[in-house]
Symmetry: D2
Subunit: 247 residues, 4 copies
C-alpha cells in the first residue's frame, strides 16, 4: 500500500471573517492540522474548504482520499446536499472519516448517525480533561491517561448520538459537565471517529497530544483490503437445495 491519503476539510470562515481567530490560525485550521500531521507522518495530505467549487470535495478527490478530516461550525447549512451524499457514500464504501469539535452538527455526521447530535455548549474558557476510558483502543497509543486543555469551549451531555461502538475518551469540564469526547462508529465498511476538542479560539490543533490522537485515528480509520460483498437477489448458494418452481 502506498502513502495514506488524508484530506483535511475546513469550513474556513471564522479564520477569514474574524481577526482574532485569524491570529490563532493564520493558515486556517486545516493548515495547522496539515502541518502538524506532516511533521510526524509521511502522509499524502490535501486540504479542501467550503468556498472552493464543490467545497473542494469532487468525486475525484474523494475517490483518492483514504481518510477525510472534517471541521465545520458556522456554515453547516451551506454544505450542499449533493456533496454530503457523496461523502457519506464514500464512508459507507470504506473511506475513514474524522469529525472534529462542532462537526458534531455537520450534515454528514448527522446523516450518518441518524439522530439530532444535539449537545449543550458554553464558551467560558473552562478547563477540559479528556480521560481515557478504553486503553485497549489503538487511538490511545502513546498518550497519557488524560489530556488536559487549559481552555476550551465546554460541551455537555446529553449528546444525542447512537451509543458509540467504541467509547475512547470522556471529557471533564471545570464548569460541571461531562462529554463523550472520543466516539468510534462502524458504518458500512467505513470507520468514523468523532473527537470533541478544537474550538476556533484556542490553539488546540498545535498540540502534540492532540496531533497524536489524530494520527492514531487516521491509522485506525484508514482502509484495508475490504472483503468483497454481494447484495440483492442471489440464487441459492447451497448446491443441495433446489430452487423451487413457482409463480
Amino acid at each position: 500500500m502506498g502513502k495514506v491519503r488524508v484530506t483535511i476539510w475546513n469550513e474556513y470562515r471564522h479564520e477569514v471573517l474574524e481577526e482574532r481567530i485569524a491570529k490563532v490560525y493564520p493558515k486556517g485550521i486545516h493548515g495547522a492540522i496539515a502541518e502538524m500531521l506532516g511533521r510526524h507522518m509521511d502522509y499524502e495530505i490535501r486540504t479542501a474548504t467550503l468556498d472552493e467549487p464543490e467545497h473542494g470535495l469532487t468525486q475525484e478527490v474523494l475517490d483518492n482520499t483514504d481518510v477525510l478530516i472534517w471541521w465545520g461550525h458556522m456554515a453547516h447549512n451551506e454544505v450542499s446536499d449533493e456533496v454530503v451524499e457523496r461523502v457519506c457514500k464514500r464512508v459507507l464504501d470504506g473511506m475513514g472519516m474524522i469529525f472534529l469539535h462542532s462537526g458534531h452538527h455537520s450534515k454528514p455526521f448527522r446523516k450518518l448517525m441518524g439522530t439530532t447530535c444535539n449537545v449543550k455548549w458554553r464558551e467560558n474558557d473552562e478547563k477540559e480533561r479528556l480521560w481515557i476510558v478504553d486503553p485497549s483502543h489503538p487511538i490511545t497509543a502513546g498518550l497519557p491517561e488524560y489530556i488536559e486543555l487549559p481552555k476550551e469551549e465546554t460541551y455537555g451531555e446529553r449528546f444525542d448520538i447512537p451509543a458509540p461502538d467504541e467509547l475512547v475518551f470522556i471529557s471533564w469540564f471545570s464548569g460541571g459537565e461531562v462529554f463523550r469526547s472520543g466516539c468510534c462508529y462502524r458504518r458500512g465498511k467505513g470507520r468514523i471517529f468523532y473527537f470533541r476538542p478544537g474550538h476556533e479560539e484556542y490553539p488546540t490543533f498545535y498540540r502534540e497530544d492532540i496531533t497524536r490522537v489524530l494520527i492514531n485515528a487516521v491509522e485506525w480509520a484508514k482502509p484495508f483490503e475490504y472483503p468483497k460483498l454481494t447484495f440483492d437477489h442471489v440464487p441459492t448458494p447451497y448446491e443441495d437445495i433446489p430452487l423451487k418452481q413457482r409463480h
Copy 2:
C-alpha cells in the same frame, strides 16, 4: 398510564393488487396483526396505510401513538419525505417503533440507521429458524429457544446496518444463509426493533410465537416517563465557577 396506543402501518398494496396475497391476508397484513395483538392485549390499536391521506400518519396520529409498527415493501419510494421526517422525529422524541421484514429498506429505517440497510434475498420457500442469542432480553419472554417458520423468504448477510445495540435473534435458512433477525436500537429517547419475518406470501403473522415477539417488542419499546433534557446554550450550572467576561 392508560392503554398502550399501537399504530400498525401497512403499505397495503400486495394484498390489493395480487389475488394470491389477498387470500393469505384478506384484511391486509395490518388487519392480521391488529387482530392477533388484540386477542392477547388490551391495547388501543389503530391502523394506517399508504394510500390514506398523509399515509394515515398525521401529526395528530403520531402524537397519539406509543408504538408504531411498520410493514412496507414495493412502494417505499411513495412514502413522502415529510411523513418520514415526522415519523423519525417522533421516534427520537420517544415513540417506540417496530420495523417488520422488508421494512429494512423503508425510508424511515434507512434514515434512522444512516446506512444502506442492503441485504441478500431469495424467494425460495426455505425453512427459517430464528435462534435466540440473548435470553436476558425481554423480547424473548415466553419463547422457545428457536422459532421455526416452515417457509419464508430468505434474507442473508451482509445486512448493512449499524451493529445493533442489542442483538436478540439470528436466523438460519435452509439454503445456506444467516441473518441478524431481531435487532434493537436506541436512538434519541426512542427504542427501535427490527424483526425480519413476514413475507407477504406466508401466513407468518397469524402465528402465536410471532405475535408473542411483537407484544414483547411493544412492551419493550413503549414510552416511559422520560427524563427531561436540555440542549444548546447553557450558562454554567456549577455555581462556584464564574462566567468569564468576554467579547
Copy 3:
C-alpha cells in the same frame, strides 16, 4: 407474578465499628435502603449481612430472590468463595443484581466481569454530578437530567471493566475526574447494574432521586419468563439431514 422479592445485602461493618458512620446509618445501609424502597414500592424485601451464617445468602434465600442489591467495602475478602459462586450462578440463571459503590471491588462483581475492576479514588468531600447519557433507558425514568450529590467520595477513570452493554450515567467530580457511574451488563439470563454512589459517610441512600434509580434498576433487572434453552450435545434438530454413521 407475585411481589418482586428484593434482598439487600450489606457488609455492615462500618456502621458497627465506627460511631460517625453509625450516626449516618443507624439501621445500617441495608436498613436505609430497605426503608426507602418500601416507602414507594410493594416489594417483598429481605436483608442479609456478612456476619450472618453463610452471610445470610443461603441457597434458599437466593432461590427466593428476584433482585439482589450488594453493598460491600472493607471486608470483600471475607466473603466466602462458596457464597460468591452461588450468587454468580444465580445471576447467570436470571436473578437481577445491583452492585453499589465500592461493590465494584467485591468478589462477585469481579468474577462476573472478568477484569480487575480497579478505579481511582479519593475521599475529599467533592461534589458529584451523575449525568444521564442514555435517556432511552428505563433506569432514567422520572429523573432530572443530572443528579447532584453535594458531597461524595470521588472515583475516577480508568475504571477497569468490560465496556458496559448499556451506559446510563457518567459522573463528574469537582476535583477533576469522570466515571462511568451507571453500567448495565447482561450475563447469562441475568441483568446486572453497577451504580457508583453511596459512600458510607454520606446520607446518599436517603435521597429520593437515588431511591428512584434503585427502583428503576430493580424493575429493569427483575426476572421475566425466560426462554427455555438447551445446551451440550444435541442430535440434529433438522429432520432432513441424516446423522452420519461414523466411528
Copy 4:
C-alpha cells in the same frame, strides 16, 4: 517494534492418543498453525503444550509473548489454576489472545468472560459457512464474504457469552444451527478473539482462508504502546480544589 512474538498453545492430547487424529495433524495442531503462520508472516513463533512443565507457559514465556493462541478440548481441567491466573493477568495487561474452537470452554476463556460459555454441539460432518457480518473489521481483510468448510463439528446457539464487543462472523451449519463464530472482546488493555472452527478431526488449520483470519487476528490483537494508567488512591489532580482537612 521488533517481530511480533506469537505463542501457540495446544493441549496436544488428541494427536498423541488417537491415531486417526495424528494422521490429520502429525505435528500437532500447534505445529500446523505454526507452519501456516510462518509461511506468510515473519513472526517470532513459539509453541507450548499442556504436558510441558508449567504447560510451557512460564512467566518468562508469557512476558515475551505478544499474542497467545489457545487450542484445548479434552483436558481443560488439567490446566493449573496458577497458569490460568498468569495468562489472564497478561491479557488484562495487554497481551493479545486468540481462543480456537473448543477453547470456548477453557479455563482462561471462561474466567475472562465471567459466564459458562456453554454451547450446543454435534459431531456430524456438517457443512459450515462463516458469514462476515462486519466488513469494517480488520479481521475480515482479504476474505471472501463467507468461508465454507465442507465438514466441521457443529456448534449452536445459545452460546453463553457476554455480547461480543465486536461480532465479526456468524456461522451457518447445514443441520440447522447458527453460531457467533468470530467474537472480539476488549478486557483491560488486551484484545481477545474467539474463533470457532478447528475440530481436531478436520484439516481446517491447513486452509489459507483460516490462516488469513488468524493472521488478521494477530495483527488486531498485538500490543501497541499502551497509555500509562494509574489506579487506587490519588490526590486531587486539579490544582484549584483544595484537599479537605478531615478525620
